[in-house]
Symmetry: C2
Subunit: 344 residues, 2 copies
DNA sequence: AGCGCTTACGAAAGCGCTTACGTACCCTAA
DNA sequence: TTAGGGTACGTAAGCGCTTTCGTAAGCGCT
């Protein structure tokens, strides 16, 4: 059992292997200029001794920083915690450390976090969560990230297209379309949308998918009431109240994420409106509790954990000339919260 | 990885303030040996220039590391993600970075993560999640943490008493007792317990609270069927199936955490057993979805976010001679999943 | 004055690593 | 043979900071 001595340094390994510090460093970094024979010996000794490089010294000396910074809106939101789970998993396999910080859905605060991560010299930055439709808001972050990449850092985004970096893009549009078609297929015509406050690209993309579905049926999103509130359970509550009050004929509520859908369901329950008999409800993301609600929630599943994994994978590849994009795929998961439109 | 670049260094600040490197360092660290006047000037200049210390250099030179390592069983478990939320919040205020890693409820893997964090020279380690009842299993971790502390590191645990470090201890026993009393007060006598696999201190503590409640009524835990399964939704499912099969007279199921309770509810729904009319169900923790289930879940609320905060606060205080303990408090939250015991 | 003592500061020695740069050595070609 | 060009490795110069140690100045005391 390799016992991690108090402070084992690279010199110790080098000495034990009978080589110089430089050679030991090269051998462990897999750099060439070392004979295979010597390199093997060094690695062997290092393993025996249980040597772990001091990341501070390594980074200070100009080596690659082995920590990845992950920016999420809020870690205690299942969407982000699942993404984080994927990232941490891959990071663990690669021996990387993950630093997580909150942006709190606030572009300025996000920018501050970004700068902090950069100042802290992380090697990789992963930035998750919806982007802002206003390019001006993203511009500063974009510039900061570009500079970071020019200095050798790597960046990948999850769910944001305007950052000019590699990105994992959830199937927001296709998912929105699938939900729209599902509801239309069930005969719903009076559909209301519970959307997050405007300005988020995620919202726009999902809406545009819904629109596509409607157009395929000779209709359009313009006909539907769209109620804006926060991307949270409370937002869903508020939206649902507003819909019930202002659009009483509604037979289906399409919430743009599961949190809102949960709020919608709670409100409907409070009003004793039976789901799905009198009202169908759909969400988006398929967070793990969606299956446990009563009624269980029809939603579009995004592979959040995989998205986290993919993002880190992207960032671990060398930078390409053009920003790469990876689509996530999606699955319509039909559960008990949707049913045929009630007869009028 | 980011190259030296146009980064601002402490020398730059020192030069600009007309002092030596050493004085600048002392001034910014708030160390004495610098006149208030000079210190102010240095801080002023540093602020103007937007200087951020290079943490790698700082740590390498022997300063305190400004990163905190947080070990959780699994970040995409709401219990842990809420704790992490609290930790990240405090860390953000203090300008600390949080590194999260998974232990996966596996003592060996946890130990490996611990060693990795220590090797990476984090300054603070926070370790969350139930401990193991077998002291042998904890011994190695305990030793490792003690050594880490002797080298100047700080450690705080959340929910583990056997580590010999400062700890935030959830009110497991009192909470268990509250749940037991609640059910007994409703007239339930045939109560079954869905517990996690043995060996976790959390399980033992909660059970002991239940036992206390029973004894206050002249009964004892020994009379109740206790079914062991995983601390997850699936575990709850399995436990519920077993209870229904082996203990058909049961009128209340006490699940030792919310995840299990959710599984229990799902199973009851599948069996068309109405909650709470035919069966009451309680959970533990009050994760945020507990309120959104149908029926909403009666449970004991632990202030997870606060627990994260408290743990980091503890770790930020200087080490005391004896390990400190902080209790979290708890609240019994009565919702719709519990009701009077059905007449026989 | 002369002595010690404190205080405010600077010079310089590392912390453990990466990476130019230098140097032996060997192999080939003229 | 010797110049020329790899290849394998060692030497040493930092990376940006903290901290020890040294020093000069200021203080009160004999």
């Amino acid at each position: 059992m390799p016992k991690p001595g108090p402070r084992l340094r690279l010199v110790d390994v080098a000495e034990r292997a009978g080589v110089s510090l430089a050679t030991a460093s090269r051998a462990l970094a897999g750099r060439d200029g070392v004979s295979a024979e010597v390199a093997d010996r060094v690695r062997q000794v290092s393993r025996e001794l249980g040597y772990v490089a001091n990341p501070y010294a390594r980074t200070l000396a100009g080596g690659a920083s082995s920590t990845v910074g992950l920016v999420v809106h809020q870690i205690d939101d299942p969407y982000f915690s699942e993404i984080a789970g994927g990232v941490i998993q891959v990071a663990g396999e690669q021996g990387l450390l993950v630093q997580i910080c909150h942006s709190g859905r606030n572009p300025e605060h996000e920018l501050r976090q970004l700068r902090h991560l950069i100042a802290q010299r992380v090697g990789i930055i992963l930035i998750a969560g919806s982007g802002y439709a206003d390019p001006g808001v993203e511009a500063e972050a974009k510039r900061e990230l570009a500079a970071f990449q020019d200095l050798g850092g790597r960046v990948a985004a999850i769910g944001r297209h305007f950052l000019g970096v590699d990105a994992v893009l959830p199937d927001n549009e296709a998912g929105g379309r699938a939900l729209g078609e599902h509801l239309l297929g069930l005969g719903h015509t009076r559909i209301a949308v519970a959307a997050a406050t405007g300005g988020l690209t995620t919202v726009l993309d999902r809406l545009s998918g819904v629109d596509a579905a409607l157009r395929a049926h000779g209709r359009s999103l313009d006909e539907l009431p769209i109620v804006h509130a926060d991307f949270t359970r409370d937002g869903g509550r508020i939206a649902a109240e507003r819909i019930l009050r202002d659009h009483p004929g509604t037979t289906a509520i399409l919430a743009l994420n599961d949190s809102m859908a949960i709020g919608v369901l709670a409100t409907l329950r409070a009003h004793r409106i039976v789901v799905p008999e009198r009202m169908s409800v759909v969400g988006f993301n398929d967070v793990s509790v969606a299956a446990d609600l009563a009624p269980s929630l029809t939603t579009v599943r995004l592979p959040m954990t995989d998205m986290g994994r993919m993002a880190l994978d992207l960032a671990l590849k060398p930078r390409s000339r053009r920003a790469r994009r990876r689509s996530t795929g999606h699955t319509l998961v039909i559960r008990d919260s949707t049913g045929p439109a009630p007869a009028r």
